[in-house]
Symmetry: none
Subunit: 220 residues, 4 copies
DNA sequence: AATGAATGAGAGTTCATTCAT
DNA sequence: AATGAATGAACTCTCATTCAT
């Protein structure tokens, strides 16, 4: 390993340290309290040092945001080993929830936080977030084609499933389930995933949920 | 009307003015930009005056939070006029969503914002939030007893439905659906409510979603 | 004197204190070293307090800038008591120089400093600065009409005189005359004013200095 | 050429590169925006490298300052080819102005900027700046001896002429003439040079401008 | 009841400079 | 000779809050 390589490695290490620390702060004190200064304090460097590794605060958030989507997608891809599309869809739900609960800071940044970084809003977010959505949608489509889910507008179905798991994740992450113990929450989550999915299995009747195709064109 | 009464009345008036103004600022400029100073400017009093009516900023948020729950509960109660429990459940979903989308700032405060006030976490939240949850749960129970929903753990079922509508509301409020146009989102929401509810209608088979009773005792 | 009046007075006092202190710092350490913090330190208030009296740093500079022009104009007006236009012109030169040397900080801000405040550049500067220039120009014109100065383009003549006194003032203020003692500088300044003015007195010949009228229209 | 010589040469090359780059930045972005980092970036070296060639930022400015005086003096010397001392004096004025307007950053550094380097004030400045002043003074003296300028204290006369051209240059460089268009400024400058010089030509009368000799001894 | 005046704490960011390698 | 890494000190500005009046 040459000198340049080692230096590059060191640099990456530092970036990771900063990102990890930012995440820890995020988790401990909420987004509003992430500050460059606090990160610096925690890693025992000066604030100015942070700027050697990241252009500004936004870049830190942006990087974390993307990392989160990479990991989520990786987990989604892992479900591809399952052949049965329905079973795979079920697994996707579990995978989504476990990603969220194991990485609440990432999840928050990705799906809850308001306007985390200006860059994100601009363009790329759509792509990187859409990839995960499309993956879900394709799985749903496959289920429908196989007659495992009732025929319905695919976007409606995908959005429904997404909403459900997002609802679970975000209620827990933002502490709206504190009436239940941790153990109880575990039961609820598992039960809820089954309840919903078993519920909507195709049982030979039609669901009434709007036109089969969404008007195309998207947001303007 | 005695002097004390009149004074109390005046005080209430002022509190309401402050709350209303805070809410307006919420709506107009987003939560992060609410400041005591801005509220004061808008009502043409000095910042210090605000502190005569509210202990601190948190108390303002806390009060708004409770107001929100009052309104939500009021809307939930309005569904009682519907006799058919399933129809009523459906209506509850719609009522929930429309409350959220018509009052995104309230909804945010109630179900999304992190620690809107430390107090909330402490004690009262449970009561005021629970009331709405219990209301939903009772409706679910009624449906099950009437054989309209498959037998399942009531908490699981209620939590599932809540998660679903909360997921919808919070994805929209926190701008995670910008790929879709406003119109499309309307379709998705309506469709999704139907998709889920029609899906889980009782069709004579059992759902596999955990023990029928949650262990009691709650969190701690 | 009512309470409101007294309060207003106090406020004005504080503003003046801040302005005076800013000027002192300016004088002692140059423009680059004026900082809100330093001003605050010097008057033994917190930095935040400054912002109660001035919107931002620019407003401080802008105010000083205008104050300077007021004072200069006041001094220019004082020459109006002199009837002989040539004598008055001579007095104007002296008045200009003495303003500059007695208020080097103001002078610096007004005529030397680079881009002191964004506002100044915008619009008003022209007006407030032009007033002084026009005053000089009218005096020059009067002298020409009275045959006391050789006929020449008025702008050229006014600009020449202005350049001369500005040159004197700015060389001294920016310490480019340190080879000379203070006393010597006094001689030089006095002598130079006479040298120039007596030099260009009308002695019956024409000066060759360009077209009599400047193209109108100004800067675009 | 020995090794040491070559090394010395390389060193000089690098110094020149740094100086040239600093100057370019000066020109492009104004003095306040020069930073060591920016210079380093532009020449594609690290900031630390700059410090191998210059003790600190001040030394860079100081060196540029001296370069400027070299160039100005070179231009002054070029007027020696003109035999008629009055014509030569006129040419000196033009040469001075054109140096200033063609190299506003140098001029600023030399005659306007406050304390470009603390060193300058110390000792050398006098020598290097004085050389140009003495050159002017000798020319003035020659004119007087030839009866082309009225008898007067030579320092007063030289200072007057210097003040005038410096006034012109510095008003323009520091943007105090923006009421006039670029074209108009051209007229004004040309006209002003003539106006002043033609004005003070010897027309057989005495000017009243102080004692013929300045007290010697200078500043301290 | 109302507030003018004040502030400590803290935000993000930039800079000239140093030093071990 | 060159530099990557690091930093202390500074900047402007904003905020929630207090308190004497």
């Amino acid at each position: 390993m040459g000198i340049t390589e080692r230096k590059e490695l060191e640099k990456q290490k530092m970036r990771k340290l900063i990102l990890k620390t930012a995440m820890k702060l995020f988790l401990e004190e909420g987004f509003e309290n992430i500050t460059i200064r606090r990160i610096a304090e925690k890693i025992e460097y000066s604030p100015a040092t942070i700027y050697l590794y990241f252009k500004d605060k936004d870049e830190i958030l942006y990087t974390l945001h993307n990392e989160g989507f990479e990991e989520l997608y990786r987990r989604q891809l892992s479900t591809l080993s399952i052949k049965d599309p329905l079973q795979r869809l079920r697994e996707q739900g579990e995978v989504y929830i476990s990603f969220a609960l194991e990485n609440p800071e990432y999840y928050d940044l990705m799906f809850i936080m308001r306007g985390p970084a200006k860059k994100i809003i601009e363009k790329k977010e759509r792509d990187i977030g859409m990839r995960s959505y499309e993956f879900l949608k394709e799985n749903v489509e496959e289920c429908m084609e196989a007659g495992l889910l009732p025929e319905a507008n695919v976007d409606v179905a995908a959005f429904s499933l997404w909403s459900h798991v997002h609802g679970i994740a975000s209620l827990i992450i933002r502490d709206r389930c504190t009436t239940f113990s941790g153990e109880q929450i575990g039961y609820l989550v598992k039960g809820s995933l089954n309840f919903m999915l078993d519920g909507i299995l195709n049982k030979g009747h039609n669901l009434n949920c709007g036109p089969k195709e969404l008007k195309v064109g998207g947001n303007q």
